[in-house]
């Protein structure tokens, strides 16, 4: 649910990073925070446990500049990935305008990726939202492990598992090294702004009729 303030010429959007536990959602936000100028970013807020697992969410507010006279303010959230935190994930999804699904490229996480994407679709369906109708981008994280002892899944297999029917933009990435992080953010940012603009056009037509 984009929030358009005509008094301040500002659009606020909410983007949620979703994915299984330890896939790198928080690392994405930390990398974005470390590379953005102080003028364009707020503080990063994390509610986590001592074991580096996100308990509730991480939050980062960014100003993405102006589009057609409107300041675009984007709020990035992560969800806890662990299966038993489903209620928290539903709370964080409330009012979202777009989702980045962060998949873990590790071979042993293959089933968890699929379960997490299915969980996202289920939680959206409970809010009467079809996963195919929202701005969605998939990121295949931990590609830097390619060529190491860790067994990782090839991109075509990940695409087949997660994106064969959705057919959304997808990006190989290493959130730890910053590869693909801003490509992912730019892609979801564009989709969300386009979606919010389209909604405004619909409202305008309703108002005229």
């Amino acid at each position: 649910m984009g929030f358009i303030n005509f008094s301040k010429n500002e659009i606020q959007c909410k983007i949620v990073y979703y994915g299984p536990g330890f896939c790198g959602k928080t690392t994405n936000l930390q990398y974005i925070f470390s590379k953005m100028n102080d003028e364009t970013k707020g503080q990063i807020v994390s509610i986590d446990t001592k074991g580096d697992r996100t308990l509730f969410f991480d939050f980062l507010s960014l100003n993405l500049g102006k589009i057609r006279g409107f300041d675009i303010r984007v709020q990035l959230y992560t969800v806890p990935g662990q299966v038993h935190y489903d209620t928290t994930r539903k709370l964080v999804l409330k009012g979202m305008d777009g989702v980045v699904f962060v998949a873990d490229s590790l071979k042993r996480q293959r089933t968890r990726n699929i379960e997490s994407l299915t969980n996202l679709a289920k939680n959206l369906a409970e809010k009467e939202i079809n996963i195919r109708s929202i701005p969605l981008v998939i990121q295949y994280n931990k590609r830097d492990l390619e060529g190491t002892d860790s067994e990782i899944l090839p991109i075509n297999l990940l695409e087949n598992d997660l994106n064969s029917t959705l057919e959304v933009p997808s990006f190989p990435a290493s959130a730890l090294k910053g590869i693909g992080v801003f490509e992912t953010l730019r892609s979801i940012g564009k989709l969300v702004v386009k979606d919010v603009s389209r909604d405004i056009m619909v409202l305008d037509k309703q108002f005229k009729s």
Binding site: M1, G2, F3, I4, N5, F6, S7, K8, Q12, K14, G42, Q43, V45, I47, F56, F57, F59, S61, R68, G69, F70, Q75, Y77, T87, L91, V92, K94, G95, M96, V196, S197, D199, I200, M201, V202, L203, D204, F207, K208
Partner: protein, 145 residues
């Protein structure tokens, strides 16, 4: 569907909030929606990170709503946090909006509660217009999109 706040709505909200501040000695007040988006803020000590405060307030209210559900309540409509110098009073306005009142020990909690009851009706009318009708002014749209 997106929510549009017109200049007219915004001015009406600000008048309400300014009146509330002057009658209670609260130092700052925020209106946020339940997904954590900041709608309006007034006051003289807003150098704090109000965007993070908005996100955390929405999350806090969401968590408390779950506690209410477990206890068989539909909702808890207010929360109060007391500190050494700073106090925060959260109150739900209708379905969608949370009002966050920040005040120090110079303000009276009783007076704040009394004035919140008065202001909620007026704010509810303006906010229901924003959230239920989801009306966007034609002039703004045709100029910008």
């Amino acid at each position: 569907m997106d929510i549009g706040v017109t200049t007219n709505h915004f001015e009406k909200i600000n008048i309400c909030l300014d009146q509330f501040i002057s009658s209670t000695c609260a130092h700052s007040i925020l209106l946020i929606d339940r997904s954590g988006q900041l709608i309006a803020h007034r006051g003289n000590r807003l150098k704090i990170d109000i965007l993070s405060l908005s996100a955390l307030t929405a999350a806090n209210f969401g968590a408390v709503a779950e506690i209410a559900r477990i206890l068989g309540e539909e909702e808890f409509t207010l929360l109060f946090q007391k500190g050494m110098n700073e106090n925060v009073y959260f109150s739900l306005i209708g379905e969608h909006v949370i009002m966050v009142t920040l005040f120090d020990n110079n303000a009276s909690l009783g007076l704040i509660r009394l004035e919140i009851d008065k202001i909620i009706n007026e704010l509810s009318k303006i906010l229901s217009c924003i959230f239920e009708k989801k009306m966007v002014p034609k002039s703004c749209l045709t100029q910008t999109f």
